[in-house]
């Protein structure tokens, strides 16, 4: 396993080209007319040129991170966005058609009803722990105990099914009783496999899961409709698919921030082994979820690797080796990992420049973009990082000046996508409009 995902595959380049072509073709998108289709394809080309670093795009693609801004812009609450799919659809449509960005941001929303049915505990959401006008928020805890590393390492799927899910989905508690699956390999083992599924608690759990699934289908149908409409007007989706750095899977959702930070001192070997164990799974998840969207760029939010969260040595020991493998695994399948480095990455720029050329997007939040361009510009497209605090508290004049400054430091000679450092919730609409306008005008490259 140690040898996998280390080297760039010889056919990675060709696979990437094929995937760009699939994305650009936009098959299945209900285009409004031929012009809309051409606009869609032009926008894909802007992003493709920025990613591949082979030529300067005609202009900088402007793809700010919507976050929860569209809901606020359309005047609906966070609760509405999670419970009233019609309202969500309208908000998403209004935002995209009003602002005419270069990409469609699928809303970072989930159906509240499904969470309720499953008795989801990993987050609190509007009307369920946080006020109806607030966004959903993560609930930190040790959902995996320190003594359970080998349960995770031995069989991640069993760990998720038997331990993690029962803890984060109250309705799926009976999943504790599902046997370890590779054990079921003989006729005499069919009864121990089937038995738990006949019990009353399990029947209830499965019914809940079915209901949550039905609710989700309704939600996704609404999303598919608005997505089709926006993309059909000429706006390609900015990302499709999702995966995470193995260290973040453990640090965010299993052990928690405190847990994983202490584990680096107390059980470093187990932690490293667990990250390795999750690596092929995170590659596979990224590949599968991207394929399902017909997209090329899986969104990969990076959390615990930020400046301040780890020392350089810890970053290079615990975080980067398996993230690099996930990147390589995705690149080898032709995908373009969209690495969203939340927080600052000023200390990490040298280490993270060890990626194959023209194959990834490094999207920064609070990193010095001039430095990022210097250190990474020759190997990777960079994206970011218009400050959201400025969009919330600033005035249009400041926005314009900052926008130009950002484009001058990060946009030189291509290899750059204009976006914000974080989701734009809370931003003043006038500021957002000023930002988009300046970025579009100022981001045109001279031939």
């Amino acid at each position: 396993m140690k040898q996998r995902f280390m080297e760039l595959a010889p056919d990675a380049e060709q696979k990437q080209e094929e995937r760009f072509n699939i994305w650009r073709a936009g098959e299945g998108i209900p285009f409004a007319d031929a012009d809309a289709k051409a606009a869609y394809q032009d926008r894909v080309t802007l992003i493709k040129d920025a990613v591949q670093l082979k030529k300067k795009p005609s202009r900088i693609a402007v793809c700010p991170s919507a976050g929860f801004f569209p809901m606020q812009y359309a005047g609906i609450s966070m609760y509405d966005a999670m419970y009233d799919y019609g309202a969500l659809k309208k908000a998403v449509e209004k935002y995209h058609l009003d602002l005419e960005l270069d990409a469609y941001n699928a809303p970072t929303m989930v159906p509240g009803k499904a969470l309720e049915i499953l008795d989801y505990k990993l987050y609190q959401w509007p009307g369920h722990g946080v006020a109806k006008e607030r966004e959903y928020q993560f609930v930190e805890d040790e959902y995996m105990k320190v003594g359970e590393y080998y349960d995770l390492i031995d069989d991640p799927t069993a760990f998720f099914l038997n331990r993690f899910f029962p803890r984060i989905f109250g309705a799926l508690k009976p999943f504790e009783t599902i046997p370890v699956l590779p054990g079921i390999n003989e006729i005499l083992l069919v009864p121990p496999f089937a038995r738990p599924f006949g019990t009353e608690p399990m029947k209830k759990a499965l019914t809940a899961l079915t209901q949550a699934g039905e609710e989700t289908l309704g939600f996704l149908a609404a999303l598919g409709e608005v997505g089709g409409k926006v993309m059909g007007r000429g706006f390609p989706a900015f990302s499709g698919g999702f995966t995470k750095a193995p260290f973040d899977v453990i640090g965010d959702s299993l052990r928690g921030t405190r847990g994983i930070m202490l584990d680096m001192f107390r059980c470093p070997d187990e932690l490293k082994e667990a990250c390795e164990r999750l690596t092929p799974i995170m590659v596979k998840y990224g590949v599968n979820s991207c394929r399902a969207f017909g997209h090329i760029m899986p969104f990969i939010p990076l959390h615990k690797g930020a400046d301040g969260f780890l020392s350089d040595e810890q970053f290079q020991t615990f975080y980067w080796p398996t993230l690099r493998k996930v990147i390589t695994g995705l690149v080898n399948e032709g995908f373009v990992p969209q690495l969203f480095a939340e927080g600052g990455y000023n200390q990490r720029l040298d280490v993270i420049s060890d990626v194959p050329k023209g194959k990834v997007v490094w999207w920064f939040d609070r990193t010095d973009m001039k430095k990022a361009k210097e250190k990474l510009g020759h190997v990777a497209c960079i994206a970011g990082n218009f400050p959201v605090d400025l969009l919330i508290t600033g005035k249009p004049d400041e926005i314009r000046a900052n926008c130009k400054q950002l484009i001058e430091s990060a946009g030189k000679d291509g290899g750059y996508i204009f976006t914000t450092g974080a989701g734009m919730q809370g931003a003043k609409p006038a500021n957002v409009k000023a930002m988009v306008q300046v970025a579009k005008e100022y981001g045109i490259y001279q031939k």
Binding site: Q124, G129, V130, A131, R134, E135, Q137, F138, V139, E140, T257, R258, M261, L262, M264, F265, R266, G308, F309, L310, S311, Q314, P387, V388, D389, L390, I392, T393, G394, G421, A422, G423, Q425, G426
Partner: protein, 209 residues
């Protein structure tokens, strides 16, 4: 004692706990032991400022300190004297339920001799005001990870003003997407980019008074 301090600074958890136990068993004055811990925390803080230590080291320092004070607590008879200590009120503002940053700042302030009152997460402005009235801190810290915290911070400062308490306290903000810009927006006195910086600012404020 020197060995204990060294083990604490160098993040040798098992060694530090063993040494602390050994010292207590030998009849070392628990107050002296706490002073040693305090010295060690200064060492940890200075490594943090030099960019040698990061959040995990602060977490581990907090964890070691917690274990040692658990050992010591039953041995100290008199009430912990808070007389003369500077007071710091801290909380995560309304609408935000994040507490990791706030907890670290609380631990560090405590280790640096502040008397800290932590009013918890998702605290509306009126709770900050009530807290100030009751606890009478010199400093108020508002924590928030999310951008929605900006408005909550602004509202909280306003509520403190409206209650006529603004000139009684200095206010600092920190967490997530906070910045100097947000400090201005909220009407706070300082923005702390990290926990150690927050403690430093607090110490300067107290020293300057």
């Amino acid at each position: 004692m020197e060995e204990l301090i060294k083990a604490l600074i160098e993040m040798q958890e098992a060694e530090a706990i063993r040494k602390a136990k050994e010292l207590l068993d030998k009849g070392t004055d628990p107050v002296k032991l706490l002073e040693a811990c305090s010295t060690a925390m200064e060492g940890v803080g200075s490594r943090f400022e030099k960019g040698e230590y990061f959040l995990p080291h602060l977490m581990m320092a907090g964890e070691m300190l917690r274990q040692i004070s658990d050992m010591i607590k039953p041995l100290i008879k008199e009430e912990k004297s808070s007389k003369g200590k500077s007071k710091y009120l801290i909380g995560t503002v309304k609408g935000d339920i994040h507490d990791i940053g706030k907890n670290i700042v609380t631990f560090l302030l405590d280790a640096n001799g502040f008397e800290v009152k932590d009013i918890g997460i998702d605290q509306p402005p009126e709770n900050f005001v009530e807290g100030i009235k009751e606890f009478q801190p010199q400093i108020v810290g508002m924590s928030g990870l999310l951008t929605l915290a900006f408005d909550s911070m602004k509202e909280t400062v306003q509520a403190i003003k409206d209650a006529g308490l603004r000139d009684k306290v200095r206010i600092m903000i920190g967490g997530g997407q906070c910045s100097e810009q947000v400090k201005e927006y909220a009407g706070a006195d300082a923005y702390a980019p990290d926990a150690i910086a927050g403690v430093k600012i607090a110490k300067q404020w107290i020293g300057g008074k």
